[in-house]
């Protein structure tokens, strides 16, 4: 009897400890970053370009660059991803062709991000001659998050009750109109949640934009989508490894990380808020 309780308690303790260790790891990580980086965060840090070989000044061009790249990636991947998902889940006859497309999508999701970077370099930068630019970077990031968006959209479309489709079709409404008027609006919040989580990841990626969009240093703001930009993750990389004054730029590096983490967590927070809002509203 006693032995059994003991075993149970040991087991509970282990479960608790594993859960706790995750919380501790995240907490320690955030604490470390903010401890080192919070000091440099100021209004001027967020709004000024770097000065004196990046040892002083702010990171505004990098914030703006990441914003443009992320927005561009979303503008490319969202329409493409949603339409692909609509095709896969609503139109395509389930068969070998669809299976191959699905396998392709899953493979795409497993491709290392540096490979996307090289692919973007070969296709957009060199072959299509977009150069290292917002366009090339956004396209590369767009393809990187495409599988996430297709996956999220398919899940959201599947979650729309079949009875909605039947009800609409039985009224003599065409399949296209049914999808456009009933299925997509019902699935849209779910699609957006999944896509925003995907875009949060894209915002923090370094490898895909390294060769396709990111500038080592440019105090100029982009004038067109064919200009290079600075970007937060690449800026961190540069400050940490490739700068000439690594010790002096250390605080700026941590400050940049704080901004990047805050940005990504902020994007995730938006997704979480949308999701909880849908759950409250949903009544089917």
């Amino acid at each position: 009897m006693k032995w059994r309780y003991l075993k149970q308690n040991v087991f509970f303790l282990m479960v608790r400890l594993s859960a706790l260790s995750i919380a501790v790891a995240i907490g320690a990580f955030l604490f470390y970053i903010f401890y080192h980086g919070a000091g440099v965060i100021s209004w001027s840090f967020l709004t000024e370009p770097p000065r004196d070989a990046m040892t002083k000044g702010g990171i505004m061009p990098a914030i703006l660059g990441t914003f443009y790249l992320t927005l561009g990636a979303l503008m490319i991947a969202l329409p493409l991803g949603i339409t692909s998902a609509v095709y896969l889940s609503e139109y395509a006859k389930q068969g070998p062709a669809v299976r191959i497309i699905r396998i392709g999508v899953n493979c795409l999701a497993g491709v290392p991000s540096i490979v996307f970077g090289l692919f973007g370099l070969g296709l957009f930068v060199v072959f299509l001659q977009f150069g290292s630019s917002i366009a090339s970077g956004a396209l590369t990031l767009g393809f990187l998050i495409l599988p996430t968006i297709i996956g999220a959209s398919e899940e959201a479309l599947k979650a729309v009750p079949r009875t909605f489709r039947e009800a609409s079709l039985a009224l003599g409404v065409s399949k296209w109109q049914t999808i456009f008027r009933i299925v997509l609006p019902s699935a849209l919040p779910g699609i957006l949640t999944g896509s925003i989580l995907g875009i949060g990841r894209a915002a923090g990626e370094t490898a895909p934009i390294m060769f396709t969009a990111a500038a080592f240093f440019t105090p100029l703001l982009p004038k067109s989508i064919f200009d290079q930009v600075m970007a937060l993750p690449y800026h961190v990389y540069v400050l940490a490894t490739a700068g000439t004054h690594i010790e002096e730029t250390r605080p700026i590096q941590y400050g940049t990380i704080v901004v990047l983490v805050a940005l990504v967590l902020g994007i995730d927070l938006v997704a979480i808020i949308i999701r909880s809002w849908i759950r409250k509203k949903k009544r089917w």
Partner: protein
Amino acid sequence: MQDNNTIIQCQNVNFYYGNFRALTDVTMDFEQNRVTALIGPSGCGKSTLLRLLNRMNDLIDGTRVEGRILFEGRDIYGDKVDPVEVRKRIGMVFQKPNPFPKSIFNNITYGPRLAGLQRKSDLEALVERSLKQASLWEEARDILGQSAMMLSGGQQQRLCIARALAMKPDILLMDEPTSALDPISTAKIEELIDELKKQYTIIIVTHNMQQAARVSDSTGFFYLGKLIEFNPTEKLFTNPDEKQTEDYITGRFG
């Protein structure tokens, strides 16, 4: 059964889900402005037949129809027939109430709007007419802008009937329309069916034999994908031709 009043004729209809034959050689005529009930144990093919009549089975992959189904003399499975047009004239009410997550008003105007009706006054008149026909007007007239999801199950089902009627169909197919409802809501829908048959042809699938006996003029009994007996309701329930029908309605199986 054959007379000039026939609106739908099924001629030697076979239906397959993949290799499984769900209907075997069904031949039956449905009469205009009558209520026809389809009864039989689960899996007997009655719902399958109902869904064949407005081509809802098209939505399922790997199905196949043989034979002919004539609606006003035209084969609805003919090459040039658009299923969308068929469904505009043959409406359907489902087992579980399935209103859209929209307002009551927009639930009813959804179909007609997409079919081209745009004028606000027309739409308002249509909503009133449809809700009155479905005996929901008194309960819903002041809350037309509210979500249909706020209604009770029985009200939702009457809304679904109103929504189907708003398309001004000739035929209304009902697939166990009261099986998810309480007795009071069921009684209301049965009354409604009685009222609606003046204007519409109604074909209703039901598990409830008392319901079939109460609301229908003719009843078809299905068993294992075959139409065993098709007779006026009174005759089928009091003096059936077939032994199997008698066994079923007296509760010996099914």
